[in-house]
């Protein structure tokens, strides 16, 4: 028995092949160019599955069966060498760089692998390990800075949606989000946030569905940027495609021996609030809106709450601003905590001081645990991979968490030489609890950033809630009325009024590939992406009233009535089915001429159903969240049943001449269900060419590779569901049936949309690949767009569906790779991505020069205005005279324009870029990524209100005379203002000129709320530069050397430490992350009540055996 155990251990440690071994060889693999060692090269016994991988020093050791004598040495990007064994036992090999392999093979549209050099369009690849390093709830976030031309905007919302754009906004009002394709199967990336939420109203960010993709399962990502690259995907890929290849079962490889491979990957992440993205409060003044109440200085409520016949001096509990009395530790006043009997300070006066524990103490350190176990294997008959991931995150806010369970099974079976069957099943259970409210209403962050008292100690609120489980707020309507007015106890909000959601998702396919001839195979596949989602919102009895339930609009989120308790649920089911059939051919016509092609068809059916139901008028039984617990009759549910179908037929032809010139052409015909019958079929072509000129220059010392490429493509697209026939809205009956004309005028004459793009590129690498670049330039025009044009409501409608518009996106993208240093054990790689996109609205429709995309609180609108970039921010501006701001000579306040159509900025960055450095030394690897977004504007509603309510430190300082700015204006002679100000005067002087052109000298009083904020300043004052420079990630990884593990069944150990977003190096937007927004979508450039960003630190352990 003991022997048997030993035998087993032996088998695990050195593999089964030992038993058959006859002799052992050793050696070293080096590079032919610079003699550096090559770790990770494959050494394989020809005609067997026996092999080894070179270690960090390029060394290998291999045992050869008796009957074998040919060894294959291979490495990515190198020419493969076969060596016939002689007598010796040491075989050192030098591999030379392969021109063919150098460029590698990439997965293109429809999952067709192509040699990268043959492509006439731009693609960029990211390896899976670069994605999975950062443990984020949404893998898309990890792409930021790693691909040129991609714009990733990660919100700070827990599990929130990430806005991802490639080459700018192309569609005026449609989906500009990139299409995700996993192993050839398109994946739904819907954002189910309400329309109100996206405009800054109340709601939650439920994330985008692509976040169900498990980063640990990703082998590689290939980004198809232009229309030529995506033409075969048809309509839906107009905004670009991110192709994801998942991991498959493999045979021997690096740190991987034969047999079942087991990988364990465990990580823990902890986040810390980045304080530069959270307010810095003034600490001088407390509750109030000014001095108009009662008592000393008119800052107080004077009430006899305890009925002892003597009035007490109360803090103005009902006021959610900090423009009250100056703090004074010697002053004892009755505060919010003196109201309720359960409070230790009940009917006790306490010192009037700034809170010891400010809002920053409200946040938890978010922790994330991710554990993945993967089993895989492969043989000549097939392969499989089974993986399970458990994800758990405790959020930044109290009572918030995200959980995911993900199972993936990928399997391939070679039925015979000709027939291969493959399948994939991926199930995800995604659960969210207590997502943060976004936008203006009922969002704790809006209180922290806009409406609050600096004297409120958050931890005391915490204790009061947990001691009583009641809504004991700081914001009593009045000390005598124990009832909240605007803000509940924040902990009450988090623990009682929480949302929850759950999504069950299945994604999978089954396919057959039949090789009819050597050059022809037929491929058929059925794939399904389906999920059901339940979103539930709660409002506990005893909360303040807020918009809740079902209002107007398709998703019932508009004009909701105020309700102080309630329950709402959204039931969403989604399914997409794709039926694909493809014939692939690949034939060398002559020695120098190769013809490749695809002929195929795709049938797609998409169903999206949503049912929204809610209680009305409150809950009958407190704490019971169900529809039947409604006090009032249930409001009309909102029901949506949408079905979309597209039948596509396509073909592509590629001609290759001598590995020198390649020509590609594609043609696709789509038949879309959403267009009028006579316009529902449309064709679109693409043509691409590439010329590998380096093949003409033989034996160049410096030029390793060079290629120019050029392409032109058109892509057509149908409408969204139900855009052709007019409909009516049924509204709640008022004694008799009641309906209204739907606000959108439909259009039964819609044409398909069309995007036309031209793209050119140059790709070169030098000095044996030590330096290389890929330059792309493009011009895309999206025309005939199907848009709901916002129209003057004097037409009777809000929107009209039309075909219109021409948006132009021109851009340059540059990807630069360099290896500045490379030694025996040391290597330094740099990858730089840079992209600039010029976006312009060329035209809309006749007589219309502006398309309003969104309208926000503050009178701010986001627009597509002819002649301007997409997404200009408009609002009120200063009045200028000779370029200087005009100040009213009487009030000293800035004059504002009366019109609100002044362009104040635009949401698009001037350019984006990233620089990634990777340093490797023996088994150590260090990398860091700097991510830059230059330019663009963002409007801050937080500053708009928060400066008005006196929260920020900018609202309390010593003025030019050395006096507190909030002190009153004091004249030398109150009856003769020409004598000027007394040296004790408060207030400040706005920089600018009076209407007559003279320098402004009038002092503004800052004694009352509003002065610094929205009341007295135009919108322009709150538009900030959205530039940021971030240290996006630093990671350090250590691979335990194989030599250490020699005697163990574990074959690989990698330990890594990663810091994600550790440092915002530069930003202009005060107290918030310029990336934080409301969520994904076309409406960006508006900052309101966002969570602060966190610096996340991860420890990761990966074991393979």
């Amino acid at each position: 028995m003991r022997k048997f155990t030993l035998f087993l251990a032996l088998m695990f440690c050195i593999g089964l092949q030992v038993a058959l071994a006859q002799r052992t060889i050793t050696g070293k693999v080096t590079s032919a160019e610079d003699s550096t060692t090559i770790p990770g090269a494959t050494v394989l016994v020809k005609g067997s599955a026996i092999g080894a991988i070179t270690d960090a020093d390029g060394k290998y050791k291999l045992t050869i069966p008796k009957d074998k004598n040919v060894i294959i040495f291979s490495y990515v990007g190198m020419n493969t060498i076969e060596v016939t064994l002689g007598e010796g036992s040491v075989y050192n090999v030098a591999l030379s760089a392969s021109m063919k392999e150098l460029e590698g093979v990439v997965i293109t549209a429809l999952n067709i692998p192509r040699e990268k050099k043959s492509l006439g369009y731009s693609t960029q690849e990211v390896k899976g390990d670069q994605i999975s390093t950062i443990k984020s709830d949404n893998f898309i976030n990890s792409l930021s800075g790693k691909v040129s031309g991609i714009q990733v905007k990660k919100t700070t919302n827990m599990g929130g949606s990430t806005n991802i754009l490639l080459r700018g906004n192309k569609s005026l009002t449609g989906d500009n989000q990139v299409l995700f394709v996993i192993d050839g199967v398109p994946v739904n990336n819907n954002v189910t946030n309400t329309s109100t939420q996206s405009q800054g109203g109340m709601g939650y960010d439920f994330g985008n569905a692509a976040s169900d993709i498990n980063p640990d399962n990703i082998e590689s990502i290939n980004v198809l940027k232009g229309s030529a690259a995506t033409a075969l995907y048809g309509s839906r890929a107009g905004a670009g495609v991110i192709m994801i290849t998942t991991k498959k079962g493999v045979t021997a490889g690096e740190n991987r021996k034969k047999g079942i491979g087991v990988t364990l990957n465990s990580s823990v992440t902890m986040g810390f609030v980045d304080k530069s993205t959270f307010p810095t409060y003034q600490k001088d003044y407390g509750a109030g809106y000014g001095h108009y109440y009662d008592g000393p200085g008119s800052y107080w409520y004077i009430r006899d709450v305890n009925n002892d016949g003597v009035d007490e001096q109360w803090v103005v509990t009902s006021e959610d601003a900090s423009y009250g009395a100056r703090f004074d530790p010697n002053l004892l006043v009755y505060q919010w905590d003196a109201v309720d009997k359960a409070s230790p300070n009940y009917m006790k006066a306490t010192p009037w001081v700034a809170a010891k524990n400010g809002p920053i103490t409200f946040f938890n350190n978010p922790t994330t645990y991710i554990n993945t176990v993967t089993l895989d294997n492969a043989s000549s008959r097939g392969s499989y991979l089974l993986s399970y991931t458990n994800y758990k995150q405790n959020g930044l806010l109290p009572n918030s968490e995200l959980k995911k369970d993900n199972v993936l099974l990928n399997a391939t079976w070679n039925v015979n030489d000709k027939l291969t069957a493959s399948g994939s099943a991926n199930y995800t259970l995604n659960k969210g609890l207590g997502r943060n409210s976004t936008g203006y209403s009922d969002n704790i962050m809006t209180s922290f950033r806009q409406w609050m008292q600096t004297n409120v100690d958050i931890q005391e609120q915490n204790h009061m809630y947990f001691d009583t489980k009641r809504n004991i707020t700081w914001n009593w309507a009045d000390p005598t009325v124990e009832q909240p007015i605007f803000w509940d106890n924040y902990y009450w909000t988090r623990y009682e009024n929480y949302e929850s959601d759950q999504r069950n998702r299945f994604l999978g396919y089954a396919s057959l590939d039949y090789k009819i001839l050597k050059w022809l195979d037929v491929y058929g596949r059925f794939s399904a992406d389906t999920y059901s989602e339940l979103q539930e919102e709660r409002r506990a009895v005893g909360s303040i009233a807020a918009p809740f339930g079902i209002g107007n609009g398709p998703d019932g989120s508009l004009n909701r009535s105020d309700q102080s308790s309630g329950y709402l649920r959204r039931d969403i089911t989604f399914s997409e089915y794709n039926y694909d059939l493809m014939a692939n051919f690949n034939k060398d016509l002559t020695k120098n001429l190769n013809l490749k092609g695809v002929l195929g068809m795709n049938v797609r059916r998409t169903n999206y159903n949503r049912l929204i139901s809610a209680t009305n008028g409150g809950l009958g039984v407190a704490g019971l969240y169900s529809l039947q617990n409604s006090i009032g009759p249930l409001p009309l549910s909102k029901e949506l049943k949408s079905k979309v179908g597209v039948n596509g037929i396509y073909g592509s032809v590629s001609l290759g001449y001598k590995s020198l010139i390649y020509l590609d052409g594609t043609l696709r015909r789509d038949h879309s269900s959403t267009l009028p019958v006579d316009k529902s079929k449309y064709y679109y072509p693409s043509i691409a060419g590439s010329f590998v000129f380096s093949n003409l220059v033989k034996d160049s010392k410096w030029l390793s590779f060079g290629k120019v490429r050029l392409n032109y493509a058109e892509v057509g697209a149908g409408a969204s569901f139900d855009r052709l026939v007019d409909k009516y809205d049924i509204i709640t009956p008022f004694n008799s049936p009641s309906v209204s004309v739907n606000g959108t005028k439909q259009n039964s004459e819609l044409d398909p949309e069309r995007t036309k793009s031209i793209e050119g590129g140059l790709e070169m690498s030098f000095f044996g690949r030590r330096l290389g670049f890929d330059l792309a330039m493009y011009n895309t025009n999206t025309i005939n767009q199907i848009i709901p044009l916002a129209v003057s409501t004097a037409t009777g409608y809000t929107y009209k569906m039309i075909n219109a518009g021409n948006i132009e996106n021109k851009g340059v993208e540059l990807a630069l790779n360099a290896t500045p240093l490379k030694g025996k054990h040391f290597k330094w790689d740099v990858a730089i991505n840079w992209a600039k996109n010029w976006n312009k609205v060329i035209s809309l429709t006749e007589g219309v020069d502006n398309l309003q995309l969104g309208s926000y609180q503050g009178g701010i609108t986001i627009n597509a205005r002819v002649g301007q970039p997409y997404g200009v921010i408009e609002g009120t501006d200063y009045v200028y005279l000779n370029g200087r701001k005009v100040v009213d000579a009487t009030t000293g306040r800035y004059k504002k324009t009366t019109n609100s159509d002044n362009v104040l900025g635009n949401v698009n960055p001037d350019w984006t870029g990233g620089m990634n450095n990777t340093l490797t030394y023996r088994n150590w690897a260090l990398s860091f990524l700097i991510d830059v977004s230059k330019g663009g504007s963002i409007f801050s509603l937080d500053m708009y209100y928060g400066l008005a309510t006196g929260l920020y430190k900018e609202t309390s300082y010593d003025n030019d005379l050395g006096n507190p700015v909030r002190d009153p204006i004091v004249w030398l002679d109150p009856n003769d203002h020409t004598k000027g100000y007394d040296p004790t005067s408060g207030g400040f002087i706005n920089e600018g000129v009076n209407p007559d052109g003279s320098e402004n000298k009038t002092r503004v009083s800052a004694a009352n709320y509003g002065t610094f904020g929205y009341l007295r300043n135009p919108d322009k004052a709150f538009v900030y530069d959205a530039t940021f420079v971030k240290l996006r990630e630093i990671s350090i990884a250590y691979n335990i050397p194989a030599s250490v593990l020699k005697k163990c069944f574990i074959t690989g150990i990698t330990i890594s430490a990663v810091a994600s977003n550790p440092w915002i190096i530069y930003k202009k937007l005060p107290y918030a992350d310029p990336e934080s927004g409301l969520g994904a979508g076309n409406l960006q450039g508006y900052s309101v009540g966002s969570l602060p960003s966190t610096r996340d630190f991860t420890l990761n352990l990966k074991l393979t055996f």
Partner: protein, 483 residues
Amino acid sequence: MKKIVVFLITILIFSACTKLEDLNKNVTDPTAVAGEALFTGAQKNLFDQMINTNVNNNIFRLFAQYWTETTYTDESNYDLVTRTIPDNHWDILYRDVLKDLDESGKIIKATAYPADGSAAGKANRLACVEILTIYTYSVLVETFGNVPYSKALDINNLAPKYDDGLTIYKDLITRLNTAIASIDPGAENLGDADNMYHGDMAQWLKFANSLKLRMALLLADLDAGYAGPLVKDAAANVIASNDDNAKIVYLGAQPNTNPIYNDLVASGRHDFVPTSVIVDAMNTLNDPRRQFYFTLVDTSSTATPALVYYGGVYGASNDFTAFSHVANAIQVPTFEGTIFDWSETEFLLAEAAARGFEVTGSAEEHYNTAIRASITYWGGTTADADTYLANPAVAYATATGDYKQKIGTQMWIALYNRGFEAWTEWRKFDWPVLVAPPDALTALPLRYTYPIEEQTLNGANYHAAAAAIGGDDVTTKLFWDKH
């Protein structure tokens, strides 16, 4: 290979058998409805907009200085931009009222009614649609001045031009005459689809004539010769009792509760208090309606309560608990919403008489009836009214000032809770004297500025209209506002 052929055929069959475009069918919303249902919706929307006190939609109670805000005093200080209030007023009236009425009219016209099948029944229905349409346009003109009219409600014209306010107004009166003439009180009607009069066409006639009276009088300063005959014509059959009031009775459950309930009670907010402007005025007159308008508040700092009616300072920040509140009866969910009443009609008749237009009865008689109508409507007794009218400061003969001051002041008191009408009558009479608060962004508004949306969506016509009326400012006097 065989299997693949089967697979291929399956797909071909699947795609061949379905007519793809059939998928694009909306199976949850109607594509055809009854005109009556559209009327019901439009009428409710109109009432909600005229009655509510949501700071995003309707701030006319502030303009009339009946109420003021406690903490967030932006709207009391005439900030119309932050909450895009003109946009909301405009959107609701055009899109949610006029468009639905327009569609309702079109459908009713095209409907073949089976029962008593008379043309008169259809004409009655259409008259109701027309009268509410005219009413709504009159509100738009009185709010903004020039507005889209002849080219409005046409989705094929995305940039509707603005018509001259006076031209619109006169056309509305012409249309009103036609509508009045088309009514046959004995014939079929909208029945319960009409929540205002439940199809009582005799009352619709009175409402239409009262509206005509009001519209004509608004033009009296501009063109008395035009207004006089219209007033005479209308005065013969106007609202003659509180039963004739143009009102709807709200229901107990949201969203069909009185919007005031939503804004003041359901919201849980303490945003408004009555102003010292109206409270002091009514205190001086010892007005019997105070108990129906306001609550009492204890202003004593001692244990002995001193319950008084005490109003907040208009436009200033006000401590909610320190002042009288809006009376509870006004805040109940089922409180009726009114857009025209007997008292208002009688004041208009008083004005007509005072102006020397040909109406039955003297200015004083109508003035007295108006005050009685108001007091009894709110719950006072005839004795209360008699006492009040006996007050020399109230009595028509002895009250201060000319007829504009007398009628203007009393009408303002009577129109409490009817912000829009009060603001319009104030602009016409220039009484009572209202003063802009010290922190106001502008002088007292004489109109709404045009919606921001119109600047961005209908720019050229917006700029032309702004120039035509003398600038898009709140202080621009509208065409009828001659004093």
